[in-house]
Symmetry: C2
Subunit: 202 residues, 2 copies
């Protein structure tokens, strides 16, 4: 339990506890039953709150799930950075292998697919996702690439947003579209191929 | 109308016409109402057939939609090939710009998102998709890259499956996850970045 200021009213404390219970329930449930069968009723039952409590704070199950992902992200802290040992290729392989592990983890796989599905079909949710989750993560990646660019390891005219897409896009698409298994070897080869490019080097 | 062999029974002809009507209805409807609201009832009404006719041939709306995509693909012929002018970069830009146009076309956008969602959540459908749609398209792409590799334009040790992922994965992920607009300029820059790689060339 965290220490709380004395003037925090009990109601606000209860409200915060309910909120966390609801988000945890949504995240667990979507992993167990899938997004299609996720319901506000089910989340309410699992969290031990009334349906109306959920509807007071969120307009839809997609919105609940999205906040559940945000809560997960908060634990990682606002000052997150990718590793920087000076060896860009090794650092990126480490990060990409960790992403492979996460995507292969059954606790994350189904909730993340559910979120991706919602984003694919809902431009408004996609805009919120870009602003609150994808955007900040992208900045963290770009900061690492920028350091490499300053060190002369990346092309001077490289567009860092495109670089992020070329590094992470193939893995995410392979995962979402199930075009092949996600393995550490795939992660390594992806980094090598993106860094070196497809062209024959003369 | 195509010429038919004389011994084709009327029943088989009617059956083929119903099949095509159902698939066309499924494709049109998913674009209008989205996948969540697509129903066997709706497809049957639009196609002018009974629900039981659909259930006799397909177990689910996802299966109907998948066959609708296959029917669409059949029109493109089995001998499809990417352009080969000898200029790989120009040829790939042409292809990638055509993909951008297709993904931006409202007639295709929603049905293709619906199919992607189904694939993401259904490993069995994903396996059929890989075998019957993604696999053949991937072979066509690899054939063009192989020609470039033989011509000494691509790295000798390049894994062509990885090359396909690095070229197309970022665009497909950007489209599905709505991380940014799909433009001809994006298509061009993606090809250039994938071919040249991210590294500074000394």
């Amino acid at each position: 339990m965290t220490t709380r200021r004395q003037n925090t009213p009990n109601a606000a404390r209860r409200s915060d506890a309910s909120r966390r219970a609801i988000l945890t329930a949504a995240f667990e449930l979507v992993g167990e039953v899938g997004y299609a069968k996720l319901s506000i009723e089910g989340i309410a039952a699992r969290a031990g709150v009334g349906k109306q409590t959920i509807y007071r704070w969120w307009p839809s199950k997609g919105a609940v799930l999205f906040d559940a992902f945000l809560m997960l992200g908060e634990g990682e802290g606002g000052e997150a950075a990718l590793p920087d040992t000076g060896d860009l290729e090794a650092d990126l392989k480490l990060v990409m292998r960790a992403t492979v592990d996460e995507l292969n983890d059954p606790r994350f796989d189904e909730p993340m697919r559910a979120l991706s599905t919602e984003i694919s079909h809902d431009p408004d949710l996609a805009a919120v996702y870009r602003e609150r989750l994808d955007g900040p993560m992208r900045e963290i990646k770009k900061r690492r690439l920028e350091a490499a660019q300053r060190a002369g390891q990346l092309a001077e005219d490289l567009d860092l947003d495109m670089a992020v897409d070329v590094l992470w896009g193939p893995l995410l698409n392979r995962w979402l579209q199930r075009t092949g298994p996600l393995t550490p070897e795939y992660a390594d080869k992806l980094i090598e191929t993106a860094l070196n490019g497809l062209r024959h080097r003369r």
